[in-house]
Amino acid sequence: VANVEGKATAITVLTPVKPIGPIVLCAVFWAARNITSSLTKLQQLSFIHYAQWAVIDRFPDAGEGEALGHHYLLFESNFNGTWDQYIDAFSEVVALRMQAIWGTSYGFPGPSPVEPFKDYIRRNEYVANHYWSAYPGATTTEIISAGRVESALGALRARAAGLEPDAFRRAYEAMLGSIQNDL
């Protein structure tokens, strides 16, 4: 499947936006960018590497772009795990956000129950013809953990040679203890 590369999955969704939608979306995205709790909420979805929303007023062409009868909302995500787990989490963890965003699109049935939501995404989804990841074997959690491991290891590396063996062992064990959830 072209939407899958190793542990990573791609989602690409495009939906037509109601006339009031662009104004609502502008406010919703402003809040998401500027209110810290919004970002924290997204970070709870710890399986998302990258995700973006974009509002398309004109589809680019050689000239000024092609305007259709409505603006279109593009959603794109790179995540680890299965498609079903992803939409389940959207439905359960960030239901209000999903309603605020996709609620501006025609045909959106709401984030729950989850089955009509999944049908909606499926109907409006585009399959990637080619998909690439620089680290297809890694989950988002592993990448963030590896950063903490590198910091802890770097701190011990810097002083390892100067310690007595017993002091080194204590420092080593303390280092391992501090990152035990990251290994």
Binding site: Y50, W53, A54, D61, G69, A134, T140, E150
Partner: protein, 183 residues
């Protein structure tokens, strides 16, 4: 027109929608479907790319009478998205040189594509067809591809070392650690 929010930390979210030459849609989709994946992907030759995809969009999806009359794109679109390290201009040049002949094989199916021989024309074409993000989420937007791959490798080595080092005397442990990780 919404303003651009294509950056999170040092990560950039590039979205390009180019019109496909009439009659070339199937050929383009098949070409992309047949590109080798993983390390053989043409995108493997473009440094700093975390995730990227191409998707052929034949048309927009109609949501029913609530939306009003049916809407159609005058031309199918090719979507290219990439989450990459650093600024746009150097990345567009990395795409041009890194994709090699694949750039022309792919975008050569799009209206107005000038070819990759000239850096300025190639960059201008992609910029002209760029869509700006309204909200871009990056779970580790401060980390480059090399940061990610380096720390993942280090984490794997530490796990391996910690298993091997169980039960070692303090001096063996220290010597082993220094041999494995240096300073």
């Amino acid at each position: 027109v919404s303003s651009a929010h294509n950056v999170s930390g040092q990560a950039y979210c590039l979205t390009v929608l180019t019109p496909v030459i009439d009659g070339r849609e199937m050929r383009l989709a098949q070409l992309l479907d047949r590109l080798p994946s993983g390390a053989q992907s043409p995108l493997a030759g473009v440094p700093g790319t975390h995730f990227a995809r191409w998707a052929v969009m034949s048309d927009v999806v109609y949501q029913g009478p609530e939306q009003g009359p049916r809407e159609h794109l005058a031309h199918a679109r090719l979507l290219f998205t990439s989450n990459f390290d650093g600024a746009l201009d150097p990345y567009l040049e990395a795409l041009r040189t890194g994709l090699g002949a694949s750039a022309d094989d792919i975008w050569g199916n799009c209206i107005g594509y000038p070819g990759s021989a000239q850096a300025s024309g190639f960059a201008r074409y992609l910029r002209h067809h760029q869509i700006n993000s309204a909200l871009f989420f990056a779970a580790y937007g401060d980390r480059t591809v090399s940061d990610v791959t380096r720390s993942l490798a280090l984490r794997a080595r530490l796990i391996d070392f910690a298993v091997r080092a169980q039960g070692m005397s303090p001096s063996d442990l220290q010597a082993g650690f220094l041999a494995e990780f240096g300073r």
